[in-house]
Amino acid sequence: MEGVAMGSYAAYVWTCFGLTLLVLVINEWRARARHTSVYRDIEVRIKALEGRE
């Protein structure tokens, strides 16, 4: 528990590490979500064109 308490600075230290983790997770999620969204849009457009032809 002493290690987790970080002296009297636990709130500052853990907030910074938590924020960093959040930013990394958001960026990982954004990279995946954006790719899926762009790919799906292209897929729908191309398959619609194929259906028309």
Binding site: G3, M6, G7, S8, Y9, Y12, V13, T15, C16, F17, L19, T20, V23, L24, I26, N27, E28, R30, A31, R32, R34, H35, T36, V38, Y39, D41, I42, E43, R45, I46, K47, E50
Partner: protein, 250 residues
Amino acid sequence: MWKWFHQLASPPHFYRIAPVFSAWLLFPGLALIAYGAYAGLFLAPADYQQGDAFRIIYVHVPSAYLSMMAYMIMAVAGGIGLIWRMKLAHSVAASAAPLGAWFTFLALATGSIWGRPMWGTWWEWADPRMMSELILLFFYFGYMALRSAIDDTAKADKASAVLALVGVVNVIIVHYSVQWWSSLHQGQTIMAEGGPAMDPAMLHPLLAMIFGFTLVFGSLLLRRTRTEVLHRERRTRWVRELVLAPEGNS
């Protein structure tokens, strides 16, 4: 070597190989971050002046370093796109901007949180390092706003590349601000004259974090660039073949 570069710059080739390189960067990067965070939080001794608050350095310094590195990548890629008209370079520049903005925000936020117990203030408007880093964030916002304001991709690439190159001056100011002016911010730690001004028990986790963050950043940049390439090439034949392939290769 040139042949390899030309091949790499080909959008279909880049699209195919990016996930492989991305995975090679991501997993070692995450392992280094896990080690660096654990060693930085629990194994490194407390600082004799700052106590355990100094541990914020393990997330603040890598973020601040990446905030500048992302900008330099953006500017150099923009410059390459302008001079050699390499399409992939503009995709790299466009993809580096949001990542750089996130790491700049993180550097500002962790720096502000660290400043509260150490300097007694969340923010100091007169501090050159803080202000130049904030201006860096505005450069990222300006770059992204400019790109999205111009519908023509080629024009957006050119205008944003010029803005990115102009902003390099600010990156130099961010880097040297603690040497040029009196600042609340501490001076160089790792690149101090005469070698790093840190005990090895504190330094090794920091180096692991910096290297780990860089690898994860590289992985994210490759994947964002891959998506940007796909979007820009959406009307080409290779994308049509990719989408219509029976295995549904995404």
